[in-house]
Amino acid sequence: MNFIDFSFYKIIVILISSYFIVRQLYKFLNREQYQSFIKFIATIIVWGGVIVFISVPGLSHFISEKLGLGKNLNTLIFTGFILVFILIFKLISIIEKVEKNITDIVRKEALREVKNEKS
């Protein structure tokens, strides 16, 4: 495994990833609104993962072989994409549902006076 190979783009990616981790850590420690432990851990896993994979290029091949995919790294990447798409789709569904619920509540409140007058 080739552990250290710091080309320019890798340094940029590591800096960006570190920024997101530090920012999330700062928000979490300051107990900012809507921050949770799960969100903090998720940030560490995602951006920490980026730092690990970019610092250790051989790691993805190593995992790929351990998973029985052999040298076929494309399969692992493809699976990752599928998972991301499923996650995005799920998130969109959840957001749509929440948006609909908010609209329903807002509408119910707006119509209350008319309903009261009619009943």
């Binding site: 749509e96 609209t103 807002v106 509408r107 008319v114 309903k115 009619k118």
Partner: protein, 223 residues
């Protein structure tokens, strides 16, 4: 003038022009006016409250589609036979309301006002946006119309009872066309006047490219 005809105006931050619009509509003989204030952050609600109209207030901004649906629900409770929707930025001519009501009286379920896509009456960018919107609506919902984004429309009692839209934003305008096709409603298009004033052109959120792309994407997702 029939008492069961309601003019529905969805508004968001229209304090400058709303009073005048309501006065003009009343001059045309329509006193049943429902204004849905879609979470305005200016004095729109206070302005409308002084008028003799039915005011419904969204506590949060939910979009034009959501505001119109709220107005539809109110009109149903008020036993409306006809609903005419008019935009709240003063670009529609209240004199056109009569044309739409006449068509409903002739037996049509939905009357769609269409703007003349000519450079002397409409900004070029608007014409381009409208053609793209018409094409997108046709491709996604299978309904061709000269002006899929026109806000001045008339609905019969049958249309009011069957049209059930789900979208909250501007994609609502196109979704109605899908409902017309699905429920086999009898529809007709009538030419309308439109005034592109300095004020209506200043409403950037309505005509931005990003808003247009978002609208088409939502149409695809929810189709």
């Amino acid at each position: 003038m029939k008492n069961d005809t309601y003019v529905l105006i969805p508004v968001f931050n229209e304090e400058e022009v709303l009073e005048n619009i309501i006065t003009e509509i009343k001059k045309e003989g329509y006193s049943n006016i429902i204004v849905v204030d879609d979470g305005s952050t200016d004095n729109t609600y206070e302005v409308v409250k002084k008028q003799k109209v039915i005011v419904l207030r969204h506590l949060l901004n939910r979009g034009k589609g959501a505001a119109i649906k709220t107005g539809f629900e109110a009109a149903k409770l008020l036993k409306a036979e006809i609903i005419i929707t008019v935009d709240g930025d003063g670009q529609h001519d209240p004199k056109d309301i009569k044309k739409l009501v006449k068509k409903i009286d002739e037996g049509y379920d939905v009357v769609l006002g269409f703007r003349r896509m000519k450079l002397d009456s409409m900004p070029l960018i608007k014409i381009v946006y409208n053609y793209i919107a018409n094409l997108s609506t046709w491709a996604i919902y299978g309904f061709w119309t000269c002006d899929s984004q026109s806000g001045i429309r008339g609905y019969s009692k049958k249309a009011i009872s069957v049209i059930n839209t789900k979208n909250d934003g501007y994609e609502y305008e196109s979704e109605v066309l899908r409902e017309i096709a699905w429920h086999k409603l009898k529809s007709v298009e009538v030419p309308i006047n439109v005034f592109y004033t300095k004020y209506s052109r200043s409403k950037k959120h309505k005509q931005s490219l990003s808003n247009g792309i978002r609208t088409v994407l939502k149409m695809i997702i929810t189709s």
